[in-house]
């Protein structure tokens, strides 16, 4: 998953909006960590569920948002980042009106415990499905 994110981020300059779709626990934040690590970020990539927005000073700068706790995103000020940051948005169904051009990354549970099916949808075009990718976890992780 993180390797995949590192590959895909090459197509995403500042001003790109990427919606991360998938059920709880599928690995949306893990995907975001992959993007940030590929951009050279060192350090934790924490779940933005509680704070709603995390901003990283990478090149391009990244906005990592999580709308899980929201019932609507009005007043959050997400739009302020759409032109200047690579925006990774979890639980985007709370967003209401979407910005014009968005990529969509769909993460689904695969058959095996650690398998995920990750689908990338380009803005306005069809989908390209990856092979089921074994999730690449933290080497320190148990179970």
């Amino acid at each position: 998953m993180r390797l995949l994110a590192g590959e895909w981020v090459k197509r995403w300059p500042a001003g790109t909006v990427v919606l991360l779709d998938g059920p709880m626990g599928a690995g949306k934040t893990t995907f975001a960590r992959g993007v940030l690590e590929a951009l050279g970020h060192v350090g934790a990539v924490r779940s933005p569920t509680f704070n709603l927005l995390h901003v990283y000073d990478t090149d391009p700068p990244v906005l990592h948002a999580d709308l899980y706790r929201l019932s609507a995103a009005s007043g959050l000020g997400l739009e302020d980042y759409f032109d200047t940051h690579l925006c990774l948005i979890e639980w985007p169904d709370r967003l209401g009106a979407l910005p014009g051009q968005v990529w969509r990354v769909k993460i689904e549970f695969g058959e095996g415990e650690s398998q995920r099916v990750v689908t990338l949808l380009k803005p306005g075009l069809g989908a390209g499905t990856s092979q089921p990718a074994p999730s690449v976890g933290d080497p320190r992780m148990e179970g």
Binding site: R46, F50, L53, S71, S74, R140, G143
Partner: protein, 353 residues
């Protein structure tokens, strides 16, 4: 250590609660919290615009309540403390604007503080029969919906982060597990209730292993999700609640005590909303006692978000002469202050208590 003699007014609006408190030294004269939890229930979640508006509506009544409960007139307030980081900008701005206006009108100093410094210093409060200030240095476990941190508290203003969650906070693990199990919000309380009748028979992952003081709860959440799906109708909610609670509290307690031992801390505090969990308090007390560590858990009203703790974080800074001016800004993300150059401060001065 010295404290501003007060009375000072503290304001906190970084998240879902609008809070104000009045302090005299370490003594909390009033500690008022207006929660937006009922609003979240009505809307099915947070709406940032509505949340900021709710802070605007609640702020002045809460400040007035804090003053009248403390029986202190506004004209006698000697300083203003306000949370200016981290948090939602819209929410923080309401408290910050109020603090600036009061500071300007009353011609008293104002200082902005970090929300987590408030949590770290909350055990120093004197309130309703509680007066158990830790010594420096000590270890602090900060656990809430947004934070899971092990901090070595060296002195006021000198904090060393020993470990933290690399993904989900412990409170988030409680809340999201509850959601996956179909239990109501807030999840921590719901799980504590259901766990009473359950047995911890489901095995759940403990996150990071080995020699680390970091935590990981993302895999935990995934495991709960898988278990709920796999067990279907056979799932025993009480047993799963018990398993969730046992696993999270065991990981937190064991790692906190290990961290305290690694830095030779003889005192440990546990602060933040998850410190309200009874099982966490029990387990920490057991493990701390076994290691000869004194455990301090402040009363629940100091653990959940409140302004009294913000007052304490500002109080010592004001007492050593720190001030902010009206250019003070709000910040969504901010590191905990760790200024190694702070002057060494003496033992705790009890004279204000």
């Amino acid at each position: 250590m010295i404290w501003h003699e007060g009375p000072l007014l503290a304001i906190e609006s970084s998240c879902d609660e609008t809070c104000a408190a009045v302090l005299r030294g370490r003594r909390v004269l009033s500690n008022i919290v207006a929660s937006q939890a009922d609003m979240h229930e009505r809307w099915g979640g947070v709406v940032p615009e509505a949340a900021a508006r709710a802070h605007v509506d609640a702020m002045l009544p809460v400040v007035q309540d804090a003053l009248s409960h403390a029986a202190v007139g506004l004209d006698r307030i000697g300083a203003i403390v306000v949370t200016n980081r981290p948090g939602l900008i819209g929410a923080l701005s309401v408290g910050l604007t109020t603090a600036k206006a009061l500071s300007f009108a009353l011609r008293v100093p104002m200082i902005g503080v970090h929300h987590i410094e408030g949590h770290l210093l909350s055990p120093f409060a004197v309130i309703d029969g509680y007066n158990d200030p830790p010594n420096f240095p000590h270890l602090s476990l900060v656990v809430s919906g947004g934070h899971t941190e092990l901090v070595h508290v060296l002195a006021p203003g000198r904090y060393r982060l020993l470990g933290q969650s690399i993904d989900d906070a412990a409170g988030e693990a409680f809340d999201k597990s509850a959601r996956l199990m179909g239990l109501p919000y807030p999840g921590g309380r719901a799980i504590q209730e259901r766990a009473r009748a359950g047995k911890p028979r489901y095995a759940l992952p403990r996150g990071l292993k080995g020699d680390t003081f970091d935590f990981s709860f993302a895999g935990f959440k995934t495991a709960v999700s898988r278990l709920v799906e796999k067990e279907g109708d056979r799932l025993n909610i009480d047993d799963l609640a018990s398993s969730v609670q046992e696993t999270i509290t065991e990981v937190l307690s064991a790692r906190a005590v290990a961290a305290a031992e690694s830095v030779g801390a003889k005192t440990m505090t546990v602060v933040g909303g998850v410190a309200a969990n009874q099982r966490l308090r029990e387990r920490l007390a057991e493990l701390a006692a076994r290691s000869g560590i004194r455990l301090i858990v402040p009363p629940i009203e100091l653990c959940t978000d409140n302004a009294a703790m913000i007052g304490l974080a500002g109080s010592w800074r004001l007492a050593v002469g720190q001030r902010d001016d009206f250019t003070l800004d709000a910040f969504p993300n901010a590191e905990l202050p760790a200024d190694a150059d702070e002057p060494e401060l003496g033992p705790i001065d009890e004279s204000f208590a």
